[in-house]
């Protein structure tokens, strides 16, 4: 069992996650078998509704099935809470969340700079502070303005190339609150995580929900396009990585896999191949769990990766392949 599932269930048993305790209904999803079965246990004492995410996104029946799952959820919600979910209300919520996604994308895009005004760790912290509340969105807007001002101040003031951090694209499993250890190890050993292609990073916010037309269809379209690792027969994650690694000028790809996460572990084969053969970037996979017992060993591997990148002649010069 992967640590993420154990941890979620641990919060449930110990009643220590305030959001879980406040929830009237848990809307769950079949993004992996472990979670799917965990929700069965969670559902014994908490109202839980599971959405079935299709696993073959290219199958002609898949998109229709996913839309019907959302229609059923809508009916369930209306019945359970005695409300009517109108198109107007849905559009309002879509617009609000689109605004949040835009703000998050804008902040993430600051990392494209030669000398980003914040670290990957700080960027990840911002992710946790946002929740579709108007006041939060305004705070977020202010933060972007402050960081943008800093950006103007430092451009061109970059230090010697040798002391500049190695630009890392971090991919793989999500880094949920409290287990940011690997990101911290990367950034305390000479790296800067310029892009996080995972479910706590940019992966779910690359696209907005279409505001026009049938809102349920628009929601179905948006979430269906996220290349969840439980899916098969799609290369959308690889396409995203190709695009993001160039946009953010990554110098290596580090993939994080939670121990016992089968789908990401197997998929890492494709990502290593993509990284080395198509992108020409060094690739390192870190498989670990939530305990810190292997931190020193992870640090050694990350340091060795950075040493090998820095030893390449193109690191010190302005390498044409490092520029978009």
């Amino acid at each position: 069992m992967c640590p993420l599932i154990k941890s979620t269930y641990g919060y449930h048993v110990r009643k220590t996650n305030p959001f879980l305790e406040m929830a009237d209904l848990i809307v769950a999803e079949t993004t992996c078998d472990g979670k799917k079965k965990m929700y069965e246990l969670l559902g014994q004492t908490r109202p839980t509704y599971v959405l079935e995410l299709p696993q073959k996104p290219n199958d002609p029946d898949a998109a229709g099935h996913w839309r019907r799952e959302l229609v059923k959820l809508q009916a369930q919600l209306e019945k359970r809470f005695g409300v009517t979910i109108t198109e107007e209300k849905l559009r309002g919520a879509i617009e609000l969340m689109n605004r949040e996604r835009r703000l998050r994308r804008e902040l993430a895009a600051l990392m494209q700079s030669d000398n980003p005004p914040l670290t990957g760790r700080q960027l990840l912290d911002f992710k946790s502070s946002i929740s579709g509340i108007e006041a939060d969105l305004q705070q977020y807007q202010k933060a972007i303005e402050i960081f943008k001002a800093r950006l103007v101040g430092v451009v061109g003031a970059a230090g010697a190339a040798a002391s500049q951090p190695v630009r890392v694209l971090l991919t793989g499993v999500p880094l949920v609150h409290g287990v940011e250890r690997v990101l911290e190890i990367i950034e305390s050993h000479g790296g800067l995580v310029v892009c996080q292609e995972n479910c706590t990073g940019i992966k779910p916010i690359l696209e907005d929900v279409e505001c026009n037309g049938d809102p349920i269809q628009a929601l179905a379209d948006k979430y269906f396009k996220i290349p969840c690792s439980v899916m098969t027969g799609t290369t959308r994650r690889q396409e995203n990585l190709l695009y993001l690694s160039r946009l953010y000028r990554a110098q290596c790809i580090i993939e994080l896999t939670w121990q016992a996460c089968l789908t990401y572990d197997v998929e890492s084969y494709h990502i290593k191949k993509l990284s080395e053969e198509q992108l020409g970037l060094p690739y390192l996979q870190i498989e670990t769990d939530y305990s810190p017992s292997d931190s020193a060993r992870i640090a050694t591997r990350i340091e060795a990766l950075f040493e090998s990148i820095r030893s390449q002649p193109c690191f010190r010069k302005t390498c044409p392949s490092c520029k978009p």
């Binding site: 050694t300 591997r301 040493e307 090998s308 030893s311």
Partner: protein, 266 residues
């Protein structure tokens, strides 16, 4: 001037003293790792310096490597053992394409560019299975010396199958084999094969030749042959295989020291 490489490994501390200009090895030394790691390293360093009539003013630059590298305050900087092994082996055997290093708690496979820099590497995770620590546990359990293992394994007719990768589980498995009357040589040969298979599962059988074997485990007789058999390739054990990490650190220190001298002149 001399450069110094200190490899603070999990089981032993290794030191190499190098002439910074000619890159000639002046001295090498080794001491068992213990609780007071830094003192241990300093004692060894002082002994080597004394034996070679060198003083602190002769030292150009010092680099520490190995898992204990950050605890060696005498070092000017640190470099990981992965880079150091690559540099050390490339210096001794420049055509090397793959380095297999098995130490006290690590096993790693490093593939090299033709210029000797690291192309890619794999390393065991938190578990110490398939490392020197594993061999030590087995030797202790069978009541034999590490040095005897190769000879004993050579007499094995039917190597036992050791399927447990965890050191603790493997020990239990060995107790079971002993209880069934399996001869110790067969157990030792089985353990050696199991360490090698573990390594192959890490590399995925794509070790590009020439392959060079380093680390303390390379000194255990029979390991080179077992590795060659499992990989289906010729393996060369590096000269002084325990020293390649410290040598790499000393070479990098020399390189940094020379750069520094140039900067000082210009």
């Amino acid at each position: 001037m001399i450069s110094i490489g200190i490899d603070a490994g999990s089981r032993a501390i290794k030191i190499v003293l190098l002439d910074m200009d000619t890159l000639e090895i002046l001295a090498t030394g080794i001491a068992d790792q213990a609780v007071r790691q830094e003192q241990q390293a300093l004692d060894l360093l002082n002994r080597l310096m004394g034996e070679n009539h060198l003083g602190s003013t002769d030292i150009g630059r010092t680099i520490a490597t190995g898992y204990g590298r950050n605890g060696i305050r005498a070092a000017d900087s640190t470099v990981t053992e992965i880079t150091c092994h690559a540099v050390g082996v490339h210096h001794l055997l420049p055509s090397t394409k793959t380095v297999i290093d098995i130490g006290g708690q690590d096993s790693k496979v490093i593939s090299l560019h033709t210029n000797g820099t690291v192309r890619d590497f794999v390393m065991n995770d938190r578990c110490a299975a398939g490392t020197g620590c594993f061999l030590e546990v087995v030797a202790r359990r069978l009541g034999v010396e590490l040095q005897q293992m190769g000879e004993l394994a050579g007499g094995s007719q039917a190597p036992a199958i050791i399927s447990s990768m965890c050191v603790v589980f493997a020990e239990t498995e060995i107790i079971g084999l002993l209880a069934e009357g399996t001869a110790p040589p067969n157990i030792i040969a089985g353990v050696q094969n199991s360490i090698c298979s573990r390594l192959v599962s890490m590399t995925g059988r794509n070790t590009c030749p020439p392959v060079v074997f380093t680390g303390g485990v390379a000194l255990v007789p029979g390991m080179e042959a077992a590795l060659a058999r499992v990989l289906g390739q010729t393996i060369t054990t590096a000269p002084q295989p325990q020293m390649t990490g410290a040598l790499g650190a000393a070479l990098l220190a020399a390189r940094q020291g020379q750069e520094q001298q140039k900067e000082n002149i210009s």
